[in-house]
């Protein structure tokens, strides 16, 4: 008990330290703008990867629907929060115009004399929560038939579900709500990395608490042996649905954050390739490790957005060869690295372990003891 408390204090102070560092870094002018991008996108991917890990790593449900739930969250957020003054322009290709209005919110915020900043923050939070809830609702709906399926069938059914969602959102009959296949924009977004970091830190904290609760232990039991878990009195259907809905809720919030990060929103990038990307992050970090997923997300985003950029533009480290190092080479190198991890380091960075200061200290202690024996 004492050990876990030390760990928790250590981890919390680590998070606090990172936050302080981020705030300082963001306020120093002239810092590499890439760093800010990495922090923003990395924190969003960390949240989505952890939510996927909750399903794949902790409950043993191999689901590939993440992109679909992110799409739901992103669209819900955008549709709810676009200011009414901008709607006409955004929905200009739709004959009927926008069917949704946020007048209800603006009225409340005017009545309460909220300042502009507070009102913006509030609608962002409302939009994100709504995005998460819509994603959760749809996951509950699709979970009813799909969660009965076994491993690979579940994977392919959830993948298919994501494709169905994408088709529905591009349907021109839904234009007044989703803007058909046109771009949604002008919704409120964040400027600094503090916002996405705070949101994903809170969400991940919730997931960690969930995993350490009775529910989390039930999830792990289901992962390790479904039949044994059922024999121990765990309600399989209930717990699987719970994990699925919670994971989708956070995927929805992650999707909303991604929409804010991108400034514009379209359904096309939410393809199965996005789910694969997140799955590979989870694998790199270690299936069944929260801290692994977080570390892997930041590594993945830094590598793909920043460190390996040179591979695309003809100059990397000391090599200069525009013929080989042209557009797309970065991703080839990257996918080779991923394949090496998948084939030879199957446990990923962390395996099933978490960052823990007590284990780290123990490592030294053992070494000391060994030295004494000698």
């Amino acid at each position: 008990m004492k050990k876990s408390r030390t760990d928790m204090i250590f981890n919390l102070s680590l998070v606090a330290l990172i936050f302080a560092a981020v705030i300082i870094v963001e306020n120093i002018p002239g810092v590499n703008p890439m760093l800010s991008t990495v922090l923003k996108k990395g924190s969003i991917y960390a949240l989505v990867a952890v939510s996927m890990n909750l399903l794949n790593g902790f409950t043993g449900l191999f689901s590939l629907g993440q992109a679909g739930f992110m799409l739901l969250g992103a669209y819900t957020y955008a549709v709810i929060t676009i200011p009414d003054s901008a709607r006409e322009k955004v929905y200009m290709y739709v004959k009927e115009g926008s069917a949704v209005s946020r007048a209800w919110f603006d009225n409340i915020s005017n009545a309460l004399h909220m300042s502009e900043d507070v009102s913006k923050l509030l609608i962002m939070i409302i939009g994100m929560l709504a995005g998460g809830l819509i994603a959760a609702f749809f996951s509950w709906l699709i979970g009813l038939p799909v969660l009965k399926l076994k491993r690979d069938y579940l994977a392919i059914a959830t993948l298919g579900f994501a494709e169905i969602i994408r088709a529905i959102f591009q349907w021109d009959k839904l234009g007044p709500v989703t803007n058909g296949s046109n771009v949604l924009r002008n919704f409120p977004t964040f400027k600094t990395a503090v916002f996405p970091l705070t949101v994903s830190a809170l969400c991940i904290l919730f997931i960690v608490l969930l995993i350490n609760s009775t529910y989390g232990r039930a999830f792990k039991a289901i992962r390790d042996d479904e039949i044994a878990a059922e024999a121990m009195g765990i309600n399989l259907a209930h717990h699987k649905r719970l994990a699925f809905v919670i994971s989708s809720f956070f995927a929805g919030i992650g999707g909303a954050l991604l929409a804010m990060f991108q400034n514009t929103l379209q359904a096309t990038p939410f393809k199965s390739a996005m789910t694969y990307e997140i799955l590979l992050i989870v694998v790199i970090g270690g299936i069944g490790s929260i801290s692994g997923s977080i570390i892997a997300s930041f590594l993945y985003i830094s590598a793909s957005e920043w460190w390996l950029r040179g591979l695309d533009s003809g100059k990397f480290l000391f090599i200069e060869s525009p013929a080989v190092l042209r557009g797309g080479f970065r991703m080839v190198v990257f996918s080779v690295i991923i394949m090496i991890i998948v084939l030879f380091f199957r446990k990923g960075i962390m395996g099933e372990k978490e960052i823990s200061v007590t284990r780290f200290l123990k490592l030294f202690k053992k070494k000391d003891e060994k030295n004494k024996e000698i």
Binding site: K173, G328, F334
Partner: protein, 333 residues
């Protein structure tokens, strides 16, 4: 009225049958690999795409070569197409076998999830490599358009005129499938395949070289995917790095629909999906002709032609998870 309706439907049905045949050729690869390894080979759709790219590049390289040898432009093109077909078949099979050896064989004793992740990784790698090589651009397919003699010729059935390849595809598919079924039922290697798909370990104890059987499976799967790709892309204008993903997934759904592990099932499933999908593409048009939709009203069914496949998948998995011809599999504790 009925005659008019029929002539509106006919082109959609014909192209549906043709697309179905192409899906069938891909689906066989999925269903056979799944039957033996219990692995959804996510890279299969990308193998199909690579076959298309090989055709593009080998034709570009070979046509000037044959022209230098003194052939006229027209005949050089035909000779280069024919030799490219051979190159496509050989290289695609080599690619399939290499993937199996490099990415799946080292994980033979690993949990099934790891193998599936490896398959996803391979798919990611192939797509990225294809983006790098093509520069992310769509490459025009040499055999499409008017350039390809004979196969692209227009022929008339009833009142509709279609490309000859549309008629050739289902016939060729059925011939290949019959040959494959004979191979599985009548030959020694076919017997070994059936044994391995029934019980992996026992067949190894019985002295079957399991790795060889798996290689043969990948050989057949990749070969048929290459044939499918030749037919598929002849109908379309170009190949892009992601153009394998959707046909791949649909072919997999076809395999599940027909009962995964069953070759005839995959073929039937593929034809059903191909036909339904194409009818859906033209349903607005058909219903307007039939007078159901009036005053130029449309529903936009075509948006759902891809999604339909997955709706079908979810329905079939819920109603009859073993598919049309699949064997019932019970979990033992």
């Amino acid at each position: 009225m009925i005659g008019k309706l029929f002539s509106t439907c006919l082109p959609y049905i014909l192209s549906g049958i043709s697309v179905g045949g192409q899906y069938a050729l891909i689906a066989i690869g999925y269903t056979m690999v799944y039957g033996i390894l219990r692995l959804i080979n996510f890279a299969h759709g990308d193998i199909f795409m690579v076959a298309g790219l090989i055709m593009v590049y080998s034709n570009v390289a070979l046509t000037p070569l044959f022209m230098n040898m003194g052939l006229s432009a027209g005949s050089a093109f035909i000779v280069s197409i024919i030799s490219s077909v051979v190159i496509v078949l050989v290289l695609t099979v080599i690619l399939g076998l290499t993937i199996e050896k490099a990415a799946y064989r080292p994980l033979r004793n690993a949990p099934r999830m790891s193998v599936m992740i490896s398959a996803i990784g391979v798919s990611y790698l192939i797509q990225n490599a294809a983006i790098y090589i093509t520069g992310g651009l769509a490459k025009p397919y040499p055999a499409s358009g008017a350039a390809m003699p004979w196969l692209s010729d227009q022929i008339t059935i009833g009142s509709t005129s279609i490309k000859r390849v549309t008629v050739i595809t289902p016939i060729l598919t059925i011939l290949l499938v019959v040959a494959l079924v004979l191979l599985i039922k009548k030959t020694k290697i076919g017997m070994a395949m059936r044994a391995v798909s029934k019980d992996f370990r026992t067949s190894r104890l019985m002295g079957i070289e399991v790795n060889n059987v798996i290689s043969v499976t990948f050989f057949i799967g990749s070969f048929l995917a290459a044939v499918g790709s030749l037919l598929y892309f002849t109908n379309y204008a170009s190949v892009t790095p992601t153009s394998g993903a959707m046909p791949g997934l649909k072919a997999f759904v076809a395999a599940v629909f027909g009962g995964i592990g069953s070759v005839p099932g995959a073929v039937v499933g593929a034809f059903i999906i191909g036909i339904c999908e194409n009818i859906l593409k033209g349903l607005d048009n058909i219903l307007s002709t039939a007078g159901v939709f009036k005053d130029g009203f449309t529903f936009g069914f075509a948006t759902f032609s891809d999604a339909f496949t997955f709706i079908l998948l979810i329905v079939i998995l819920c109603v009859k998870p073993t598919g049309l011809f699949g064997e019932k599999n019970t979990d033992k504790v």
